[in-house]
Every structure is written in C-alpha cells, then in structure tokens.
C-alpha cells in the first residue's frame, strides 16, 4: 500500500515485486541498499531565484528554488530569521497527482523535508536577523516535482539542500527606520546539512530509494534525516499502515547511514560547480 491507495494495485505487480525481493533482486538490478544514479544540476533558475537545483533520481525529478525575502520576525524569536520549505505535487509530474489545493501527501512531503532542514539547524537563523524585533530574512525553499517515479522525499531533500547551499542574496541593513541594500552579496549561514533517506518495507525486506512500482506495494516507509555528523535529526514513518519491528527500524538506520556519505559528497560536488 503506497501513498496513493486510491489507485488499484494489481496483484501481478504486488507478487512480482515481492517475489523478486525474496530472491534478493530488484527490477532495475540495484542492490537493496543502492540508490539510483543521483544527478544534481545547481542554479537552474539563475535569473530569478536566489538558489535553485534540479535533482534526478532515475526517472524522478524535482526542481527546488530558494527566495530570500525581508519580513518581520515571529514575536517569540525577535532576533531570528525564518526558514520554510513548501512542496506541491504538481499534476505535471504524475497521472496520480490531482489538480487542486495540496492534499495530505504534498503536505507531508513539505513538512518532512522542512523538518530535515529545521531540526538539523541547517541555516543559522540567528544570523538572519537584520534588526532585532523589526526585520529579518525569510528563506523560502519551494519544491516542484516534475517527474514522479518514486521517492520524492529524498529527491526533494537533496534539491532543497543544494539550493540552500548555493543561495546568494543581497545583504540588507537597517538604516533610519528602513531596510536598504548594502551592495554586498551573501551566502546563507549554513551550520549543518541533513539529507533524508527513505527506506521502504515490503514484507520483511528493506529497500532504499524506491521506484514507483515498489512504492505501490510497500507496507510502509521510514524516512530519516542524517546530518554531517551521522546524527539523526528527523524521522517519519509513513507511506502505508504496515507496522515495523524495532529490529527493522535499526536495520533501516544502518542502511541510511551507509548511504548518506555518498549523497553528501554528490551534493558538495554540485555546489562547487556554482561560483
């Protein structure tokens, strides 16, 4: 049972995927702990977005863009800027996505990616203050899936983090009760990077980076955000009602830890391509 339980899952698909996994195989020949090829193109919206990235995981692709605005701080944190991730499941990406206001899966996608960014303290929001109690930077990272062949969460997480790491924005200061440009261009104050890794449970098997056919038949999935120090900063079990044993959760953590180093490296390389 995947995220789109309204669609009838064919018995043939279900048995086919299960049988393969029982034999230790996946349709595309990957190992259970192996990602599809990760392709990152940074700065794809150079003229309008402060940061952006296109990420491909096999036939899944997402575009993320960052806008840095000036706004008022929340009353309970007057000296802190704001970061926020939103996501849409634009119907362009899949016949399964419907027109209309964001539904639960889109909200979950946004919130899970958002937690990964926020809880790891990726952006040092204290440094996003322009004038305490008056003006702060507000950093919006918005995600648009373009092609959906499974595992949107990880693709979105990679895209959002790459976009944040490559963000350049004009510095502002508070002068005579007004916000003015200083003429300097800044990068975001980045403290940490946490990437999300999603592992699906199908029967007693765990697989990372599911394609859509696998996602359809998964019992559930577990998403884990892991930072540069191999700390877990956010988790989400979703994608179906199937229960998961402690043992499997631990095994999933191990798989995610193994995968995260390579992905972090790929992101670093993509970031380097942007001046």
């Amino acid at each position: 049972m995947g995220d789109f339980s309204t669609d009838t899952i064919s018995h043939i698909d279900r048995e086919f995927i299960s049988d393969l996994l029982r034999k230790g195989e996946r349709l595309d020949g990957r190992a259970f702990n192996e990602y599809r090829e990760v392709e990152i193109e940074a700065n794809v919206v150079p003229a309008k977005a402060e940061g952006s990235a296109l990420v491909r995981l096999g036939d899944t692709s997402v575009v993320a863009g960052v806008k840095v605005l000036v706004g008022e701080p929340y009353p309970d944190s007057p000296d802190e800027g704001v970061t926020m991730v939103t996501a849409e499941m634009s119907p362009i990406a899949s016949p399964l996505f419907e027109l209309g206001p964001p539904k639960e899966p889109a909200i979950e996608l946004a919130r899970v990616v958002d937690r990964g960014v926020r809880e790891s303290g990726t952006v040092d929001t204290k440094k996003l203050c322009i004038e305490e109690g008056k003006k702060v930077y507000m950093v919006f990272a918005d995600v648009y899936p373009m092609e959906y062949d499974g595992n949107l969460i990880d693709a979105a997480s990679i895209a959002v983090n790459t976009a944040l790491l490559t963000t350049k924005y004009p510095e502002k200061k508070w002068e005579n009760g007004k916000v003015v440009d200083t003429g300097e261009i800044l990068s975001l104050p980045i403290n940490n990077v946490a990437i999300e890794h999603t592992i699906a449970k199908i029967d007693e098997n765990l697989i990372i980076d599911t394609i859509l056919k696998e996602e359809f038949v998964q019992d559930c999935r577990l998403t884990m955000a892991i930072d540069r120090d191999s700390k877990f900063t956010a988790m989400q079990k979703g994608g179906g009602p199937g229960p998961m044993s402690l043992e499997l959760v631990d095994k999933a953590m191990e798989m995610a830890l193994e995968a995260t180093k390579d992905i972090q490296k790929t992101i670093e390389e993509a970031v380097k391509t942007v001046g």
């Binding site: 009838t8 018995h11 034999k23 349709l27 595309d28």
Partner: protein, 297 residues
C-alpha cells in the same frame, strides 16, 4: 495532384501531405482538397489513400482488440476494468462466466486481478465492453506487466508476429502483447526479463526506424551469449538458440500452449498483404487511376 512526402517521412501536424483526388484516412484531414497531417507520425500512401501512422497516442478501443486490464470495481454482475486510455471498460459476468454463476462474482475475479480480455463492443458514447470467452482470455498469473505506448504495439508485434516471435525465440519467454500497450512477460530469470524489457523499450524508442527486427535480434543474441557465458549452466535455454532465427513460423515449442503471441494482431497483419511498392511509383499509378475515374465521370 501531388504528394508532398517521402516514404517513411516523419511528418508533423499541419504538414501538407497531398493535393488532388486523394482520400484522407487515419491521422490526416482534408481541407478544400488538400490533405494535411493531424499527428506526428509516419506518412503513408496506399492506393489513393493517405494516412499517418501514429507514433504517439492514447489507447482507443476497437472491437476485437486484445487488452490487458486491472479490475478496480466489482458492481453487481459487472466488473469495471482499467485498460488505460480515456475509457474505463466493463465486463459483464455473462461475457466471462458459464451460467449459472454465483451471485457474488468477486468469487471468480476480484479487485486487483489482472485479466486478458477482448473488446466485444465499443462506441464513443458508451465505454468499451469486454468479453473473456475467447481462447487465452483469462486471469493472468505470475510474470509482470510492462507498459509501453499503445501506438508502438503494431511494431512490437511486427509483421505476422515477426518481432515478438523473434524475441520469444531468443529469450525463451512467454508474452502476451495487448493492443492497449500492456505486455505480460514471464521469463525464466530476472536477467532475461530485464533483457526482454530492454528489447521492448528499444522498439518503443525506435519504432519509426527501419531494420529494427535485425537490430533487436543482434542485440538479443549478443546479450544472451554474455548471459550464458557468465551464469551457471542451470539455464534451460538451448545454446543453439543464440543464432539469429531465419524464420518465425514455428515458435511454439513452449510448454504452455495458451501463451501464444497475441492472436488477433497476427491475423490482422496477415489479412493485410504488405504493399512493397515505392511510394513514388505508387503515386504515378494512382495518378493514372485518378484520371481514368475522372474521365468516366
């Protein structure tokens, strides 16, 4: 009187194809004696009929089509079946079961079951009606379903089944190729299944090119040789099958007789005798015919 396209030319919507007394057929439209393409596809002239073989497009049902669908609703004596394309299909129990049958027809086939069925009636006012009384029509078990563009299915079958027979020959797999773009495949190993998928994807991609059967055959022969070279000898495929098959007439050495290549398409292809005349030659011929007709009037 003129024809403005080359043989096998990929044409685009709005492209002028012919002028004069030609008949506009599939994929074309006639505006004041001019025939234009309405699709992206391969332009073709048969007799004085101009048509465009679609290279893309949704599945539109046709009586007699073999389709593969997934049951998504059981309602009274009807199953609703998703066959892709714009029209959901229904299958009445009378057209699938021998009477008397139980009141609860989900005992026979239920939501999620994948079936091979025949389109027994369709008009665009009411959705397609399916039947399962023909040979080979059944609930499919095991294997996998590959989805390809329905427009590419004729190419995957090939003339008189040449393409699909060749693939089955090389790989020793069972397939059922349905007109709605779904291919059921059962293969002896995952490796061979992947190779089959690769073959079908390649055909899909290159459906507009010539000598495709040859290229696919070469690729399969090569890759099968590698597979056999590297894997354990338990593979049941005969080693002599690596060679390119010269003919596709006697394929059926497989254990299960009901798993023949798609029967309808094969017959259809046989009915239509291939026209081997060069397009240009044909034009001239038609020109002559046309003048004759005109003078008769």
């Amino acid at each position: 009187m003129a024809v403005y396209f080359q043989k096998r030319e990929v044409v685009v919507p709005g492209q002028l194809l012919a002028e004069g007394r030609y008949r506009a057929s599939f994929g074309t439209y006639d505006e004041e004696g001019k025939i234009f393409s309405s699709l992206v596809g391969l332009a073709e002239l048969r007799g004085n009929t101009v048509k465009v073989v679609a290279l893309e497009g949704a599945y539109i049902p046709k009586e007699g089509d073999l389709v593969i669908g997934t049951i998504n609703i059981v309602a009274g004596n009807n199953w609703k079946v998703n066959i892709g394309g714009p029209y959901g299909a229904s299958l009445h129990a009378n057209n699938a079961l021998r009477r008397p049958y139980s009141e609860d027809i989900s005992e026979y086939m239920d939501i999620g079951d994948v079936i091979a069925a025949e389109v027994i009636a369709f008009d665009r006012g009411s959705g397609p009606f399916l039947g399962m009384k023909g040979r080979d029509l059944r609930v499919l078990q095991g294997g996998m379903i590959l989805e390809v563009s329905p427009a590419k299915i004729p190419r995957i079958i090939g003339r008189r089944g040449s393409m699909i027979n060749m693939i089955q020959d090389h790989l020793n797999i069972e397939t059922m190729v349905a007109q709605n773009g779904r291919i059921w495949i059962r293969a002896p190993s995952t490796e061979i299944l992947r190779l089959a998928i690769k073959a079908f994807r390649t055909i899909e991609d290159q459906a507009h090119t010539s000598k495709l059967t040859d290229r696919i055959s070469e690729m399969l022969a090569e890759e099968m040789a590698t597979i056999k070279g590297s894997s354990k000898p338990e593979e049941e495929v005969g080693p002599e099958e690596v060679s390119v098959p010269d003919d596709s007439s006697e394929v059926e050495s497989e254990p299960e007789p009901e798993l023949k290549p798609e029967p309808d398409a094969t017959t259809e292809a046989e009915e239509e005798k291939p026209v081997e005349v060069e397009a240009d030659a044909e034009v001239k011929e038609e020109d002559e015919k046309q003048t004759e007709e005109v003078s008769e009037e």
